[in-house]
Amino acid sequence: MSAEDNKPLLTVRGAKTYYGNIIALKGVDIDVNRGEIVTLIGANGAGKSTLMMTICGNPRAREGSIVYDGQDITRLPTHEIARLRIAQSPEGRRIFPRMTVLENLQMGASIDNMEFFDTDIQYMFDLFPRLKERINQRGGTLSGGEQQMLAIARALMARPKLLMLDEPSLGLAPLIVKQIFDAIRELNRKDGLTVFLVEQNAFHALKLAHRGYVMVNGVITMSGSGRELLENPEVRAAYLEGGAH
């Protein structure tokens, strides 16, 4: 995180989102600065994934504003938001089950930078050798964890400015989780990739992130640097320690 471009890339203010008649986000404010890794932690059902989906415009925030790179994207259709080089690996993976691994990755690559395709795909295969082994297999026949890798790789293929990952560690073997988190750190350090990370694995996430937010029942209750939150006794009790009842 270099100090000079410490301007917010993404600003969410007072975002309220509903699912039908149920309010999921009750006015959320967050900032993600350029070149930062920001994590959002919280219990299941707190609204973390909803916030991520709201940023992508599906569902739309009924109130509040979402500004990305100086542009108000609150009312933009999802596909136009994606064109602003926000990539996400959503909850439930959402890979294309009848397309091969290679085709899935091709779908992820944005059209305007095809010259990077070969290098990018090589990088994905270095990151996830498993995907290379499965290159011509249909997405739907991959195991759960492999699909997760594919979803992350597909998001990375877009060469995003803002990468949003919803529980990248879900269903992955400890070794792979480590590799993914290392890769995120590396991409951030080398290319200045901005990352917004939703994680259940609060310990790893906070360790990786520059800053973090804690969400409870659709409201941000705490924020601070990753280390501050790691040390915070409340956070530790609620999200880090399992043994104590």
Binding site: E63, S65, D72
Partner: protein, 464 residues
């Protein structure tokens, strides 16, 4: 937490934008209407085609379209959007409950109304005048209510999209006709037999299509419906071909009274009433009402039994069902069979009522209408399906009465021809307004503390 820095302004009316919309739409309308309406070819006295210039009319119409669009953009759309937001936010659980209560109240009132309906009509229009209202509206609608409820088991509960339901209706109708004519059996004996035969054909159809899902299931069931119809047309020795079967015996009042004019125990004669077919129609009305209520009663009971829950679970997730030890093959077959049985009942009633059956009555359009009733009503909801049947069948019947439109469009205007057009538009409209049908919420079949209505958003539609 500071208040929202920027909120999108969506209050206030954007007249500039609305005006732009209106002008653009007006221009498009003129571009289309200019050649379509503005130029008309006519034959003159010497049989030559001449072009009549009616651009003025086209311009007037275009202005109307443009102004209409302006009004929509300026007033109607913002209001709809605002209401959409509000109603979504306000449709709380309490509202769902209230809606469920309303539906319940509605069904009781509806039930009472159904029982007194023929009497009401007779008192209003007299015995002879009641025929149209009891037969064309009452009986006709109730047949479709029953068919809708029968198909509701297959589509609404089990989530299997069956586009060939009319086949079972045909099986019921032909079973009754053929058995009644050849073996001189009474309607009351043949009714269960027709139902059983239809159920048997339901199982026959069920077996090959069980592995299919979604679109494939729909296509095969559609084909099945057509096969039955084509067999009926071509197997002349059996079914009389496209000429059909006529002089099918009427229903008797359990053998005590007959409705045949020549019969010694004729109902009207026995009670010294003026001869009229109205009595038979009223009698038929009560039969189909009882049959429909029987369907409803059994369906409601089945929903509370393990088989009904298994159907709904099947609609929600078939794989999970299998992991819980449910034999999904049998479960699907029972859904097909029971749905088909009710179709068969309705079919034999139909044959007895018409006195004549031919393959013409069992075209794909019939299946489509029944499926539309189920979808429109809200899959799985009894009251919704009933309302949809009233709207669709009653509505199309009502459109026959639109003679007053002749005053507007001239004497050669035939409202009947526009029935399907208006009907289609109404369907599109309703599906936009209520995409999950009239009643989308689901009533749980069991509860521990309190019966809470399940919002339609969570209920799955099945994958075939």
């Amino acid at each position: 937490m500071n208040s929202a820095v920027k909120t999108n302004e969506r209050a206030g009316i954007d007249f500039g934008r609305a005006l732009k919309d209106g002008v653009i739409v007006g221009i498009i309308a003129f571009a289309l209407l200019g050649p379509l309406v503005g130029l008309k070819t006519e034959q003159n006295m010497s049989n030559e085609l001449i072009v009549q210039n009616r651009l003025g009319l086209a311009a007037i119409l275009s202005v109307i379209v443009g102004v209409g669009r302006f009004l929509l953009s300026a007033f109607i759309y913002p209001r709809i959007a605002a209401r959409g937001n509000r109603s979504k936010a306000a449709a709380t659980l309490a509202e769902l409950e209230a809606r469920a209560k309303l539906t319940q109240g509605l069904s009781i009132v509806g039930l009472i109304f159904l029982f007194v309906y023929p009497l009401l009509i007779i008192s209003l229009f007299g015995v002879q005048g009641s025929i149209k209202w009891v037969d064309n509206y009452g009986v006709q609608i109730l047949i479709y209510v029953m068919l809708g409820w029968g198909l509701n088991i297959v589509i609404g509960l089990a989530g299997l999209l069956d586009l060939g339901y009319v086949a079972f209706y045909a099986v019921g109708a032909y079973s009754y006709s053929l058995l009644a004519i050849n073996f001189h059996l009474s309607f009351w004996v043949l009714l269960p037999i027709a139902g059983m035969l239809a159920a048997f054909w339901g199982i026959i159809l069920g077996f090959p299509v069980l592995r299919l899902r979604g679109d494939y299931l729909a296509i095969v069931t559609l084909a099945f419906g057509e096969i039955i119809r084509l067999v009926l047309i071509n197997w002349k020795a059996f079914s009389g071909g496209s000429a059909g079967i006529s002089s099918i015996p009427k229903v008797t009042m359990f053998g005590i009274y007959s409705f045949d004019v020549s019969a010694p125990n004729n109902f009207a004669k026995a009670f010294h009433l003026a001869a009229s077919s109205a009595y038979y129609k009223v009698f038929l009305y009560y039969i189909i009402l009882m049959l429909a209520l029987l369907t409803a009663f059994i369906t409601l009971r089945l929903r509370r039994l393990p088989i009904g829950r298994a159907w709904e679970a099947l609609r929600e997730d078939e794989v999970a069902c299998r992991s819980l030890g449910i034999n999904t093959t049998n479960t699907k077959l029972t859904a097909f069979a029971i749905g088909a049985m009710f179709g068969g009942f309705a079919g034999s009633f139909f044959a007895a009522r018409q006195g004549f059956v031919s393959p013409e009555s069992f075209v794909f359009m019939e299946s489509a209408v029944i499926v539309a009733i189920v979808v429109l009503g809200g899959m799985g909801s009894m009251i919704g399906v009933a309302l949809a049947a009233v709207a669709m069948i009653g509505g199309t019947e009502l459109l026959r009465e639109l003679d007053f439109l002749k005053a507007v469009f001239g004497n050669d205007f035939n409202p009947d021809q526009y029935r399907m057009l208006i009907f289609g538009l109404a369907m599109v409209g309703i599906m936009v307004w209520k995409p999950r049908g009239f009643v989308s919420a689901r009533q749980p079949t069991a509860f521990l503390f309190k019966r809470k209505t399940v919002s339609g958003d969570l209920v799955k539609e099945g994958h075939g």
